[in-house]
């Protein structure tokens, strides 16, 4: 059972595609417009993508689109017409070039070789039992799942060069480490990562003592509370992955509080809010509160806006004009869109809740008779 995405550039090949995929367990999604590719990838988990028939330009665009949008894990095959040269496609990151026409038998063999080669499980490091993206499973999910698992385990959360660990003894959370932090403060730091990778590993932790001393339930309550508070504070702040930078045009008056001083040091070069949060050992809530103050005081700002202001200041002599525009700079724009995972916009640009239509359960006459007979038989 394979899920295949076909980027069909010429409808004349549709018949050939139908023939090649008939009889095998393939679920084929055909996309004829490049604009629809991302939506298709967001809605399914493809084992393979085929560009059909492939040209240098269209295949390159297709691959770029996948790679720029986080779908670099989808292997791409170019199906090349017999009259087209292969060479122009050689330098593209393809997993295979197949010359058309191709026999069904041969096609099947080649496809199966590719799928085997990209198989995730074949190179799983021994001892690593589960790994993946925190987009699907965040810290709170993982704590609950490891608790239910009831074994000794080590959970590693990593994002770029930073990683933290959480330790479980027989499912009970006993310690956590992140940067130089230990215990609950470390857990809180890893609480709301929107991106990153996790790994769980079965380990022996018999000798480790419980450094936290709270039940998992109590820990979860603390974390959930923290999460809610953090979410409130996020409002009005730049997006987590938007870069912020020190505003060179604002003079620092007097001595800054120590945390603001540390934030300013990190903002000497552009840094995302998320990177800032996971680089400082202070609590996220404290950092966010200080960030808000610093944004209001124009000590820091969104990189794009600070750069624009600097350019404007350089081109204009009147410094007052610059100052007057600063006050509006960090206000949340009215038309600014926030990103809501799993929420969608309808044609009017409004967010709409996901809709599910369920096939209602209905009973046939024979089924009702079976129920009646069953009840009859019982009495």
């Amino acid at each position: 059972m394979r899920d295949i995405l076909i980027y069909l550039l010429n409808n004349e090949y549709a018949e050939e595609i139908r023939y090649l995929f008939s009889g095998h367990q393939y679920q084929v999604t055909i996309i004829e417009n490049l604009d629809d590719v991302l939506q298709a990838c967001q809605q399914d988990l493809f084992d393979l993508a085929l560009v059909w028939p492939a040209s240098r330009e269209a295949t390159g665009q297709f691959i770029d689109l996948l790679q720029q949008n986080g779908f670099q894990y989808v292997p791409v095959v170019a199906m090349v017409d017999e009259n087209e040269p292969l060479e122009p496609l050689y330098d593209l990151p393809l997993v295979e070039l197949i010359r058309l026409p191709v026999s069904k038998q041969q096609f099947y063999q080649i496809i199966e070789q590719i799928v085997q080669d990209v198989e995730v499980q074949s190179t799983v490091v021994e001892g690593v039992n589960w790994q993946g993206s925190v987009e699907e499973y965040g810290l709170i999910d993982l704590i609950q799942m490891l608790e239910n698992n009831g074994r000794d385990a080590e959970l590693t959360l990593s994002y770029t060069d930073k990683s933290g660990k959480v330790y479980f003894r027989e499912g009970k959370l006993i310690n956590a480490q992140f940067l130089t932090l230990q215990g609950l403060p470390a857990l809180k730091k890893m609480l709301s990562w929107p991106r990153g990778h996790f790994q769980t590993k079965q380990v022996e932790l018999e000798s480790q003592t419980d450094e936290i001393g709270l039940s998992n339930q109590e820990i979860l309550m603390i974390l959930v509370e923290k999460l809610l508070k953090q979410e409130q504070l996020f409002e009005g702040l730049p997006d987590l992955f938007e870069e912020i930078i020190k505003n060179p045009l604002t003079q620092v008056e007097g001595e800054l509080p120590p945390l603001q001083h540390r934030i300013l040091n990190y903002c000497e070069t552009p840094i995302t809010v998320f990177d800032l949060l996971i680089s400082l050992r202070d609590s996220n809530i404290d950092i966010m509160l200080e960030l808000k103050i610093m944004l209001q005081q124009s000590l820091i700002g969104r990189k794009s806006e600070v750069e624009a202001m600097v350019r404007e200041a350089e081109s204009q002599s009147g410094f007052g004009k610059f100052i007057s525009s600063l006050s509006s700079m960090f206000k949340k724009k009215e038309d600014e869109e926030e990103s809501y995972p799993y929420q969608y916009q309808d044609g009017n640009g409004e967010h709409s809740a996901p809709r599910l239509e369920v096939n209602p359960v209905q009973l046939h006459r024979q089924e009702l008779e079976k129920i009646e007979q069953k009840l009859e038989g019982l009495s």
């Binding site: 599910l356 369920v358 209602p360 359960v361 209905q362 009973l363 046939h364 006459r365 089924e367 009702l368 079976k370 129920i371 009646e372 069953k374 009840l375 009859e376 019982l378 009495s379």
Partner: protein, 158 residues
């Protein structure tokens, strides 16, 4: 395979036990909900979620189940009383959520009162809504109990 999901609110837990006395129900507690299973055969299984005041379902769980519940059963006692019982609020909320779905209010009556009902009412109960009936039953009358269960599910006919 078909799984028919039914929500049950009972005035008292024993009432459900009495109503289902002959049914070979299996019980499991899943995600803090008591689930009873009645297997008709390998292709048709009925699951009943027992919800009463003690087991009030979290709203998120109710949201999850809402679209899937095929029928709703309220088991009540004391027809002459105020109609209020500890699970009444839950029943009220469920009835609102499950509007339009087969619903039976199964009222336990004493044996003599049951005999006084005319045959039509004994078999079909009172009209409650287009897919809802008020049925009367008694522990000593297996036929009356069977009629409650049959009525509950027969409105699901396609």
């Amino acid at each position: 395979m078909k799984i028919l999901e039914t929500a049950v609110v009972a005035e008292r837990a024993e009432l459900l036990g009495e109503l289902a006395a002959e049914l070979p129900l299996q019980k499991e507690r899943i995600l803090d909900i008591d689930v009873y299973r009645l297997e008709i055969d390998e292709d048709l299984v009925i699951l009943m979620y027992h919800l009463d005041e003690d087991q009030k379902m979290a709203p998120e769980m109710m949201d999850h189940l809402q679209e899937h519940l095929g029928a709703f059963l309220v088991v009540a006692d004391n027809p002459g009383g105020t109609g209020f019982f500890p699970g009444a609020e839950a029943a009220e909320e469920l009835a609102r959520r499950l509007e339009g779905r087969p619903t039976v209010v199964a009222v336990k009556s004493d044996a003599d009162a049951l005999k006084l009902l005319n045959a039509d009412i004994r078999s079909a109960g009172f009209f409650l809504s287009p897919k809802g009936r008020v049925m009367f039953w008694n522990a000593a009358s297996p036929a009356s109990r069977r009629q409650v269960w049959n009525t509950l599910w027969q409105s699901l006919q396609s």
